[in-house]
Symmetry: C2
Subunit: 96 residues, 2 copies
């Protein structure tokens, strides 16, 4: 098993949560249909002023699957309509 | 159950990973002894140049337990010796 964890902190100003959630659902529908998608867990900060209002912790079968899913014209189109900064990167679990 | 998720992205320059891990182990020993500590999962980025080289996803029994654990003189002492920027905040899981 070569599973990899995608962690993506999103900068969403207070008051923009509903807009974020609408965009998130669109993106979620796209990702769930991609090969190699395993799971996603979306977290919302208790503090509305936290640096990252939402953080996604997702799992993919491999880095290649995630890269393929984010290299399509359809994903680029989703990105263009997404008005929030984020910091996605792939991680491996090293201790628990 | 009122469990809460602590997510903490750490800025660690490439080449400083060993120093981070040494500090992390010290902090882990402290947290594991605190009331309300449930679990911790430390992730390392595949890309050494990722904005956040390490991200911890921990679980605490409640926000109050986490705040108590980070309000002690012993924790403040640990923080003073910790030379990396981080962005800790408490989260609730809102969708999976």
């Amino acid at each position: 098993m070569n599973h990899v964890t995608l962690i993506n902190p999103f900068e969403v100003p207070a008051g923009k949560e509903d807009e974020f959630m609408e965009r998130w659902k669109q993106a979620g529908e796209y990702f769930r249909q991609r090969e190699g998608f395993v799971s996603t867990r979306l977290h919302q900060s208790l503090d509305p002023e936290a640096a990252y209002r939402f953080i996604n912790v997702g799992v993919w079968e491999s880095p290649e699957h995630f890269r393929q899913a984010t290299s399509t014209p359809e994903f680029q189109e989703l990105l263009r309509g997404f008005p929030f900064s984020s910091h996605p990167a792939l991680y491996r679990l090293i201790s628990e």
